[in-house]
């Protein structure tokens, strides 16, 4: 017993005087990934191997989160663990390597693909996977593999199979609501109209989109089924109904109805078609959005004299003001973890995208252009896409939340606005 105390006292002398150096900042560099062309079994077309790895590479570098190694800088082309040598990749400054193999193709065109991911610095394999899919859907296969790789490296859910909805206004004449892949591919027009369209929002099951259409001469909410194409007006007991936002459980819409010219926020049950009033104020109350736990809503109100963000408890109807800085804070939405919000912040005539922790006091602006609006966030909470303007033309731009990357989506024929990021496929 005494001996034990002796030991502790002697060693504790050292523990209490050890130097501790804090590391608070990381590198601005991006992780570098080598996407090695997948190998193929005999008698399989080589193109599959190249295609799959190229598609994965395109996905992973899409939002500027990673750097990729050029194929002509690769020292070897392993497709199995046995052929994999860490030093080939360490020399090239690579942090992660992806290898894979097309194992078989059957008569129906179904491919069996296996893949692995290596952490070069730690010299360990961190992922093994196998996937089966049809050659007609090779893009879909690559998206799933990309998701797995992304998740392993970042710890965040991969979003490569999510979609983006947005409004395009071509030549000031036609308005269209469109849906495309996250990289802009496979664009589909959902609805086309000579009258304006606004505020698209996805149902949580990704099967429907709600939006505002002026086809009948005034703002009216429609719900469109993405598969059947059927459209239904919710015709909520009054004029000017707008700002539809689906509840997390998919059973209600938060929306704005303007009874007697006073816009207030309601919750509309899709089942019972009943309206439940949430705000009752002579000011403008609009732009509601649900918290991820469905208990609260954030909304914009000018009851204080200028547009600011407020939070309302859906049960108790108690309200709380969220923003004080600046004369214009609107179109607020919650981060997927419910702890922060992002919104449009007006500052000296510039309108920018900003964020704020619900528990904090300060606003951080994310953009520095001046006509930014309609921000939407990826379901993993890592990327924000918003609408902005350049030379009179509207386009979509985005940034990653660790601040390291900014990008713009390819321009379209017309002014693009109001992006809405789809939820994850459940």
């Amino acid at each position: 017993m005494r001996g034990l105390i002796f030991l502790i006292l002697v060693s504790s002398n050292n523990i209490f005087s050890i130097l501790e150096i804090e590391i608070l900042k990381g590198s601005d560099n991006l992780s570098k990934i080598a996407f090695i062309p997948f190998g193929i079994e005999k008698n399989i077309d080589e193109k599959y191997g190249d295609q799959v790895s190229s598609l994965i590479e395109k996905n992973m570098v899409l939002f500027g989160e990673f750097e990729n190694l050029n194929k002509n800088e690769m020292l070897s082309f392993p497709s199995t663990e046995e052929d994999f040598y860490y030093r080939d990749w360490k020399i090239m400054g690579v942090d992660y390597s992806v290898i894979g193999r097309i194992n078989s193709v059957n008569a129906l065109g179904n491919l069996n693909i296996s893949y692995s991911l290596f952490n070069i610095n730690r010299r360990i394999k961190i992922l093994d996977g196998e996937i089966v899919g049809n050659e007609n859907n090779i893009e879909g296969i690559a998206k799933i593999i990309s998701n797995r790789i992304y998740e392993k490296i970042t710890g965040l859910r991969g979003i490569f199979d999510t979609k983006l909805a947005y409004v395009v206004n071509s030549n000031s004449k036609t308005y269209q609501i469109c849906v495309s892949d996250i990289d802009g591919q496979n664009e589909k027009i959902l609805f086309s109209s000579p009258s304006p369209i606004m505020s698209p929002d996805w149902s949580p099951d990704r099967k429907k989109i709600a939006y505002v259409s002026f086809e009948n001469g005034f703002a009216e909410i429609f719900i469109q089924d993405l598969i059947s194409g059927e459209r239904e007006s919710i015709n909520a007991l009054g004029m000017t109904n707008s700002a539809p936002v689906w509840s997390p459980d998919g059973k209600s819409l938060a929306l704005v109805v303007s009874f007697s010219g006073n816009p207030d926020i309601f919750s509309y049950s899709l089942n019972t078609k009943r309206l439940n009033r949430l705000t009752n104020h002579y000011g403008i109350d609009t732009e509601p959005s649900w918290s991820p736990d469905s208990k609260k809503m954030i909304f914009t109100s000018d009851r204080s004299g200028s547009p600011q963000l407020y939070e309302i408890n859906v049960q108790s109807k108690r309200k709380k003001r969220l923003t004080k800085d600046g004369s214009y804070n609107a179109r607020g939405k919650y981060f997927p973890d419910g702890k922060s919000i992002f919104f449009v912040h007006g500052n000296n005539g510039n309108f920018q995208i900003a964020t704020k922790k619900l528990s904090g006091r300060f606003i951080s602006t994310l953009t520095s252009t001046s006509l930014d609006e309609s921000p939407t966030i990826s379901p993993n909470g890592n990327i924000i896409i918003y609408a902005t303007k350049k030379d009179e033309n509207g386009y979509l731009a985005g940034l990653t939340l660790n601040g390291k990357s900014r990008f713009a989506l390819p321009l379209k024929n017309g002014s693009v606005r109001e992006p809405a990021w789809s939820p994850l496929l459940k």
């Binding site: 304006p196 005034f218 703002a219 009054g238 000017t240 010219g261 403008i284 609009t286 732009e287 109001e418």
Partner: protein, 159 residues
């Protein structure tokens, strides 16, 4: 036995009456709204439009919906025409700055401001139709102060 049933039935009837009353409230709200909602489906034939040689627009400051003296005098000039017209359509608009849904509400508020002025001047509310297009239908599609000031407007049409 009967007594036992009386009470719950009584409460039931009371509840039904309350429900009907609140429904009536809703209905009356929507009746009031009917004067707006009938914008839908009501066709405006261009032939029906009453032409005046007046400037048919009233303008506003950024994020404001108040009428200034020149706006009011323009509207005064309209009054005789409005009295003769069957329908007055007020269309509210905003410039592109700020968020779209808020601008939709702001446009409506501007149109309502004009409506209230007309009502004060004796025009019947039943004649007046209010619509807002927010920032969706700008007159000028430039991002300049000039274009913005032209877009912050209420357009008046008479039928």
């Amino acid at each position: 036995m009967r007594r036992l049933f009386m009470e719950p039935i009584g409460i039931f009837i009371l509840a039904m009456v309350c429900q009907l009353y609140s429904c009536a409230q809703n209905v009356s709200d929507s009746v009031e709204q009917m004067s707006y909602a009938s914008v839908a489906g009501e066709e405006y034939l261009e032939g029906d439009k009453i032409e005046t040689n007046l400037n048919n627009k009233v303008f506003f400051d950024f994020d404001k919906s108040s009428l200034d003296a020149s706006d009011k005098s323009l509207l005064e000039q309209y009054l005789p025409f409005i009295r003769k017209a069957k329908i007055v359509r007020l269309e509210g608009h905003c410039d592109e700055r700020g968020t779209r849904e808020y601008n939709l509400a702001l446009g409506e508020r501007r149109a309502l401001e004009v409506r209230d002025f007309l009502i004060v001047k004796g025009i019947s509310g039943k004649k007046i139709r209010v619509v807002s297009f927010g920032e969706e239908k700008p007159l000028k599609r430039a991002s300049t102060e000039q274009a913005w000031s032209e877009n912050r407007r209420v357009e008046i049409s008479l039928y």
